[in-house]
């Protein structure tokens, strides 16, 4: 199976509700991450790196910032004459009473026109709240080697705290077995990363059936209920993959990138992560700056003390300011002598001189977009 025979579908709004702090103004896919990225960069780059040339991005609400970010798809080499990147705006589907979609099944059905038009034989679907860097080429090969109907990617570890996330058992051949699909629990389990690969014609048939029967839940009504009828295989993701299920995990995953091995695993040199290019100057450190163990994007001006922080673009830290364990998004201004510990600031926040803000590692303090303190 050639990768350009695969159509990519990305849900830009997957599980928006688990990150209420960052998603009222934007879709999950355009949540800023790791200093210069947006979450959608990861599934998009994974697809492009394995040779997929046709990608549809399903949107629902608040997708302006997402559109701004992906643009024509040029940054991912997806601005093309043939195929390329398609942002699929929300569609009032007559199949569910002219409403916008409410579930994964309905979302896919809204995009059925786009899916049907594609000449690809297979469809690969990803969510935006899963940060991973994996070789989809291996997944595609596995799928055809096993002669699978559906392959879903899983990780064997503690399942994220997202209601209804699919966890399951596998038999010796790697097939998702008929045994009780586990409940999301405390113990380690094979849990779905919501990355699915299947034949396009099968997806179309399953979707049409599901909509006719009024099914809503992709995991339960399409995957779980077909474990016997279809050959559903699990593919273990052995590279970096983390699922964002709350502001707390969002914070932890950003912080974990300060460990070089974690950063190197996510940003594997042979599978680069592409993102929209900005033309900021390199970051400047002044005489009074003292920066330790931090990840700093372009365009920052740092005159204060910074330790264990992730800085996005154009962050300004005044003289004598102290920041520890913070995630500071782009265009944040931190006044002289301010003292911040375990703080997440959204874009354009202003912290006036000598202010003291502190959260805890287990409960970071969040400052919304454009807030002035």
């Amino acid at each position: 199976m050639r990768a350009n025979n695969v159509l990519g579908i990305i849900y830009s709004n997957s599980y928006d509700s688990v990150l209420p702090e960052l998603t009222p103004l934007r879709a999950m896919g355009s949540v800023p991450f790791a200093g210069r990225y947006r979450l959608i960069d990861f599934p998009l780059s994974n697809m492009v790196n394995c040779g997929i040339t046709n990608v549809g991005v399903i949107t629902k609400g608040n997708y302006r910032s997402l559109m701004d970010h992906v643009g024509s798809g040029k940054a991912w080499d997806l601005s093309r004459k043939r195929d390329g990147l398609f942002v699929i705006p929300p569609f009032s589907d007559s199949a569910f009473g002219g409403e916008q979609f409410r579930s994964r099944i309905e979302a896919l059905h809204s995009a059925i026109g786009f899916i049907e038009r594609s000449k690809a034989e297979y469809v690969l679907m990803c969510d935006s709240n899963v940060v991973c860097n994996m070789d989809f080429g291996d997944l595609i090969k596995y799928h055809s080697d096993k002669g699978a109907d559906i392959t879903l990617v899983y990780k064997y570890e503690q399942a994220p705290k997202i209601p209804g996330i699919l966890t399951f058992a596998l038999d010796a051949s790697g097939r998702v077995s008929n045994e009780e699909l586990c409940r999301c629990g405390i113990t380690c389990a094979a849990h779905s990363l919501n990355i699915f690969l299947l034949r396009k014609s099968l997806l179309e048939r399953l979707l049409n059936d599901a909509v006719c029967l009024g099914y809503k839940d992709f995991d339960q009504d399409i995957i779980a209920s077909n474990v016997e009828n279809l050959k559903i295989f699990g593919y273990e993701c052995d590279s970096y993959a983390r699922t964002i299920d709350s502001l707390q995990t969002y914070y932890e995953i950003n912080m974990d990138l300060l460990q070089p091995d974690q950063k190197d695993a996510l940003f594997a040199p042979d599978r680069p992560v592409f993102t929209k290019v900005h033309d900021d100057m390199p970051s400047v450190y002044s005489h009074s700056s003292n920066v330790k163990n931090s990840l700093i994007a372009d365009g920052c001006k740092i005159e204060g003390q910074v330790e264990n922080c992730v800085f996005f673009r154009r962050v300004n830290v005044g003289r004598g300011a102290k920041l520890k364990n913070c995630v500071i998004m782009q265009d944040t201004f931190i006044g002289e002598g301010a003292d911040l510990n375990c703080v997440i600031t959204d874009k354009n926040a202003v912290i006036k001189p000598d202010k003291v803000l502190s959260g805890d590692k287990n409960y970071p303090f969040f400052l919304g977009k454009g807030i002035v303190i």
């Binding site: 200093g35 210069r36 950063k263 993102t275 100057m281 400047v284 450190y285 700056s289 700093i296 365009g299």
Partner: protein, 405 residues
Amino acid sequence: MRKKTECLAMLLAGGQGSRLGVLTQNIAKPAVPYGGKYRIIDFPLSNCVNSGIETVGVLTQYEPLELNAYIGNGQAWDLDRINGGVHILSPYQQISGTEWYKGTANAIYQNIPFIERYNPEYVAVLSGDHIYKMDYAKMLTFHKERSADCTIAMLEVPWEEASRFGLMILNDDNSIAEFEEKPEKPSSNKASMGVYIFTWEKLKAYLLADEADPDSDNDFGKNLIPAMHQAGERLFAYPFEGYWKDVGTIDSLWEANLDLLNPGVDLDLSDDNWRIYSNNPANTPHYIGPNALVENSMIAGGCRVEGKLDYSILFADVIVEEGAKVEYSIVMPGTRIEAGAVVRYSIVAENALIRRGAQVGDLPENYPDRDLWGVAVVGDGLVVEKNARVKPKEMLENKIKEGQE
């Protein structure tokens, strides 16, 4: 007929920049990296776009591979256009024979057909060797207001440096009375910046005449402009104020880079209204390690700094290991400086490897005879082996062995 273009730019990018030695061994001077993420050519190209000049011919001749790859279709500067955009113009074979660009004027002469395709009113001729931010639109307005035939951008330089430049002596109305080319005793401090705007009709006539003259060197400064002056054409000098630097030598390239760390220098690259665009690779934010010490420095994406850094500029993907020291230096993309290595007052080109304990460059204080001291340069892809030493002012072109000087 094609829509008329008001002004197009011809960017002279064929220069070897021989005084940059090993740095321009495989690349043309305009492709030399500058300021952490830029190349010299980003400045004139960005100036063009920001000034509303959307048709740019880039004249290449010496080692064009890197430059061609860098410019690509011009997308990074918004110069991938339906009409116009950026075009790489190399010498080509003609029915009358094949020749290289013999001089700056000849390079434009050979591309008259390119210019005529766009039917311009004015042509800007720019050199691709300088770092500056300039609004060519203002200069064009100046040119039009005076019904000039040629306008030359002019900068007042310190008197003690004036003898290094092509100088102009002006009348009260800013028209040019006289030229002086690098005189020993300058009578003016008004230097030409290598930025010209011509009325195309006039320029074309003089290009044809210049080409017909067998004694001409086909150079703008030496032949064509003096010829225009002698014939009594309207030549004006456009006064420019702001940062402008010719980065033609190792010392000036080093200085121009470190100027970015000096808040007193009038070159703001973070100005949103006059962005300097560049063609950037996909790299992560840079990482500063737990024991690093970074002061007065500029760091680009993809770097990993665990050592000590002071008054230095790191380009993309540079690694400075723990215990390494980099001071007053420019380190170009992809270079690795291992633990215990010391790099001072140096320019290290792309993808070099400075091994443990090696020493590149030295402090000027250690050289009472200042003539022996200067910026050290390590060429691209070279390895400076363990405990080896690259002396100040030295320009390393070949690999050196362990412990060698």
